[in-house]
Every structure is written in structure tokens, then in C-alpha cells.
């Protein structure tokens, strides 16, 4: 089968690889119909995530048709067209039972700080991902969800990560009616977080980035205010001023470890690797939120640590809320939003590229060429 093959930072190719096999009685083999490149895949692509081994196949956002199931799989059958949440969850551990499917304790042997994630390095379990024609899906009765017949497959594939992560970013913000919400990062997740902030009653949503075409897209899609931080002398002062010198009620970090905008953070985190990436967005979020406000973090940061103003968290009484999205928990609500026409995730997709051209697809997305917002890869076997 054809699959993505990571060869080192900034180097990937598509090549023939062995077919995946059922390795556990609760596994399924899924023939991939659509698979995305996620912004967090770029952290792997750029060599920022430890234990990313040459020969790995990335991809944690995918839909597909069930080809084969293990003997203990009861809910799925061959032929089902499913969307597969990016988190691998057993459904039985205490974390899964409490709805924290992104924190499953039985899916990542290599670390305890993160649950298993498809195609996201050995730090997240060493599972091959969905940027391939076929993929092994563990715990097939737990995560995979049959795509409703009236749902567009492009909407479905974005329900595997982008929509739930953006939604949960807003949910974790504890947004109250009338709140001003600031979202850092106008990538697909940030745009979705800005869009979802309205669901919780925000009265004003502001998005901050430095790429004009993305800000323009966010402004139209998420109906929010959009500002390029490079045109602001000091983003924190600007946000204080625009909130009557009070600070935003909620700040959301949708950027993670490859932020720009602060020379010291960039040098220490992205050049010298003295910390796990540049935490500029998180620093701005902490410093822009009001006293007693909430900072929600879904941006990806690697181990072991980042430099953030923890003293300001204490002194301002900030609540910091963060997690990997619990996709399975959120799916019923989000499917309803899409079916009711309140949310149209597929509008984020700007590029549809054959899996064979994955090297170009990564470069376009990574370098933000051709006004790229979201890339979907289409295997020839779909």
C-alpha cells in the first residue's frame, strides 16, 4: 500500500509499505478515504517532537471504510464508513470513563503525559497514522464513529480533530455571555475556536496572527475581528487598550510551540532548543487576559518545559485550562451543529492533493504557499 514515509526534518515521501495487520482482537483495518495534514503534524515535520523516528507514517485526521475487524469488535462491520478520532482510547480506564478520551491510560506505552495518538511520534505511542491507503485502528469499538449518511465526507474528516479541538478550546475558556474572547493563531484550529466562541455567548471575538490571508479568512469565516500582530507595536498593550484597559475575559492559545513574535522566545525555543519551542502565544495569552480570567491552551508544546510567566498566573489569579480534545465526547453535539447548518467545517479546506504528492502537500502547508488554510490528502484507493 502507499503511505507517507518520514525521512527527517522537512523530508517526507510517499512510498509502498506493508499492509497493516490486526494485532489485537479489538483492532480494525480501515481503508482511508480522506486524511488531513494538521498544523501539529508540522511540529513533527520540523523535527520538534522527540522520538519521531525515520520511517514513521504521520496522520491523525482521517476517515475511511472498515475493511476488516478483530474477533472482539462488535459495533463496526466491514463496509462501514467511519471518522476516526485522533486520540486512541480504550474506553475502560478511569480517564476514558470520565470522558477524558484524550488522556487514555492504555494506549501509549512510551509516555504517561499523553494518550496514544495516530501517527504522532513514539512519544504518543508509536502508532502508524492515516496518511496512507490503509491504517490499523485499535479499540475499534470506542473511537471510530459511523459517518451519518447525509454528512459531507469533507465535514466528517474535520470532525476527527479540527472541529472538536477548536470547540473544546472555546469550551475550556468557560466563556460567559458577554465575554470578550481573544484567540491567538489563525490556523484551522484557531479559526474554529473563534467560530465556536460564539456558541458560548461571547460578545466579542478577536483573532491575532501575522499572516494576512489567514486573518482575512478568519474574519469572514468566524465573523470575528482580526489583527496582524506585526502591525501592532505591542499586542498585549493593544489588547488591554481595546478592552477598556481591563484585559480579555478569555484568551485561547491555538499556536503552540512554533510561535513567532518574540525574539527571545524564538531564539531559545526554535533555534537553540533550550525550551520546547517558542511559547510566545501562551505568554501573550497570560499577559492579555484580565485578572481572574481564563486561559485555554490547545496549542501543542513538546516536553520537557517552556518559559512562561508563571508569576503572572499567580498574581492575576488566572485559571489555566488545557487538554487534548476529547473527540468522542464532543462528537454528538458537533454532528448536530453541522447537520443543523450552524457549522460548516469543509469551508476550511483549500487544498485537495493526491496522497502520492505528499512531499509537495507538506511543503505548501508548512510554508503557507498558495493561501493554504487546510490540506486534505486523497488516496487513490478511496
Amino acid at each position: 500500500m502507499l503511505a507517507m514515509n518520514y525521512r527527517g526534518p522537512y523530508r517526507v515521501r510517499a512510498e509502498q509499505r506493508p499492509m497493516p495487520e490486526i494485532l489485537h482482537p479489538e483492532d480494525a483495518i480501515v481503508r482511508v478515504t480522506r486524511t488531513c495534514i494538521c498544523g501539529s503534524d508540522l511540529h513533527l515535520y520540523h523535527g520538534m517532537v522527540p522520538d519521531t523516528r525515520v520511517g514513521s507514517t504521520f496522520g491523525h485526521e482521517f476517515t475511511g471504510v472498515v475493511e476488516e475487524v478483530g474477533p472482539l469488535v462488535q459495533k463496526l462491520k466491514p463496509g462501514d464508513h467511519v471518522l476516526v478520532p485522533f486520540n486512541i482510547a480504550c474506553g475502560k480506564c478511569n480517564f476514558c470513563k470520565q470522558g477524558l478520551y484524550g488522556n487514555c491510560h492504555e494506549s501509549n506505552n512510551m509516555a504517561t503525559a499523553v494518550g496514544g495518538i495516530f501517527g504522532y511520534s513514539h512519544t504518543a505511542g508509536g502508532f502508524d497514522g492515516g496518511q496512507a491507503e490503509y491504517v490499523r485502528v485499535p479499540y475499534a469499538d470506542v473511537g471510530p464513529t459511523v459517518i451519518p449518511p447525509d454528512m459531507d465526507p469533507d465535514d466528517a474528516v474535520l470532525l476527527t480533530d479540527v472541529v472538536p479541538t477548536g470547540y473544546q478550546a472555546a469550551e475550556m475558556g468557560g466563556i460567559k455571555e458577554g465575554d470578550t474572547v481573544v484567540v491567538f493563531g489563525a490556523g484551522p484550529i484557531g479559526i474554529m475556536a473563534a467560530r465556536c466562541a460564539w456558541f458560548f455567548g461571547a460578545s466579542r471575538v478577536i483573532i491575532i496572527d501575522h499572516i494576512d490571508y489567514r486573518l482575512e479568512f478568519a474574519k469572514n469565516y468566524a465573523k470575528c475581528e482580526a489583527y496582524n500582530f506585526k502591525s501592532l507595536e505591542d499586542p498585549v498593550v493593544f489588547l488591554k487598550k481595546t478592552t477598556d484597559w481591563y484585559g480579555a475575559d478569555v484568551c485561547i492559545d491555538c499556536v503552540g510551540c512554533e510561535a513567532e513574535g518574540n525574539t527571545l522566545q524564538t531564539f531559545s525555543g526554535r533555534v537553540a532548543l533550550l525550551q520546547a519551542g517558542a511559547a510566545t502565544a501562551l505568554q501573550w495569552a497570560i499577559n492579555s487576559v484580565k485578572k481572574g480570567g481564563i486561559v485555554s491552551v490547545v496549542g501543542v508544546y513538546g516536553p520537557p518545559f517552556n518559559l512562561v510567566p508563571i508569576g503572572n498566573i499567580v498574581n492575576k489569579g488566572i485559571t489555566l485550562r488545557a487538554n487534548q480534545a476529547s473527540v468522542k465526547r464532543l462528537l454528538p453535539k458537533l454532528i448536530d451543529h453541522i447537520q443543523a447548518g450552524r457549522l460548516s467545517p469543509k469551508e476550511l479546506i483549500t487544498h485537495r492533493i493526491p496522497l502520492e504528492e505528499i512531499s509537495d502537500a507538506y511543503h505548501i502547508f508548512s510554508s503557507k504557499l498558495d493561501n493554504c488554510i487546510k490540506t486534505v490528502l486523497i488516496p487513490s484507493t478511496k
Binding site: 494485532l23 523535527g47 470522558g99 491510560h105 512510551m110 508509536g126 487538554n323
Partner: protein, 160 residues
């Protein structure tokens, strides 16, 4: 560590202000109290061990399922095995893993050549799309690279 304060429930006021709705992760967490059972929960049967599996030392047992992609091998594998002798809290875990990743890139090139495959580094970096969508940027990069090469070459010649 076991809680040795057996009579904590008799402390005046104990638990009276507990409010599940005030759980910091509410409503993300459906609080059940199962956390206090720790890792004593029903597990599925263990995935058979078919490849070498590295395990966090913060875990008392292997997880039910695990990935089998790219087992450790070669020099990078030796370094990864060392890294996994240390907890996720330690630099001794993460720095060797990053080092192993970089060594693994060279191992990947050697493996390609051994298999008779000469990797097309430009194609793997997606330069075809760079040419298509950012030809001016590519020309600037090429010019800068040429300029730097000429300057370095001139300096070397001068020293000779």
C-alpha cells in the same frame, strides 16, 4: 503514598463544600470518583509482543495496545533504550531522544542507499511546489546560497 490520616472524614467541615460542578475540568470531565481506584480497572486483553517495545518507567505494566511502527534499531536504538531508563521528568530522557532522532536521519539515508534507493532530497522537501507557488522566493534563496558559496570560496582562496 497511602494516606495515613485515617480519620480525615471526621475533620469538621470535611467535604461539605465539595461541588462537582466546580471541578476545574467540568464539564469536560464526568466526575465519577473512579480516580481513587487508581489503575484497578477492567482492562482488555494484552496485545501480543511482536516487536521490541520501549516503556516509560512511570508505568508499572505495558499498555493494552501499543504501536509497532519502527522498533528501535542501530545506534539511534541504543540511545533510545538508554533514554527509556529515565523518567519523563528528566533531561536524560528527552535530550537523548532528540539526539537519536538526528542520528536516525543519517541511518535512514544509509538504509536508502543500501536498498539501492537514491533519495531525491529536493523532491522530498517539496521544492516542486516551491517552484510553482514561490518561484521568486526560490530564486532569492538560490541567489543567496550562491553568494555565500562564492564568498566562502573566495576567503579560502585568499588564505591559501
Amino acid at each position: 503514598m497511602e494516606n495515613t490520616l485515617k480519620g480525615y472524614k471526621s475533620i469538621p467541615g470535611w467535604g461539605m463544600d465539595a461541588d462537582p460542578a466546580n471541578e476545574p475540568t467540568y464539564p469536560m470531565k464526568n466526575y465519577t470518583g473512579d480516580d481513587h481506584n487508581r489503575i484497578k480497572y477492567e482492562r482488555s486483553e494484552q496485545q501480543p509482543f511482536t516487536v521490541e517495545l520501549l516503556q516509560s518507567i512511570e508505568r508499572p505494566r505495558p499498555t493494552v495496545v501499543f504501536g509497532t511502527s519502527v522498533p528501535p534499531s542501530g545506534l539511534s536504538g541504543i540511545i533510545r533504550r538508554y533514554a527509556f531508563k529515565h523518567s519523563e521528568d528528566r533531561y536524560r530522557h528527552w535530550i537523548p531522544l532528540i539526539l537519536a532522532d538526528r542520528i536516525n536521519v543519517a541511518e535512514g539515508l544509509i538504509d536508502d542507499l543500501r536498498a539501492g534507493h537514491l533519495p531525491n532530497l529536493l523532491a522530498e522537501r517539496g521544492w516542486r511546489s516551491e517552484l510553482k507557488y514561490n518561484s521568486m522566493g526560490l530564486a532569492k534563496k538560490a541567489f543567496m546560497a550562491t553568494l555565500i558559496t562564492v564568498v566562502i570560496w573566495s576567503c579560502i582562496r585568499k588564505h591559501k
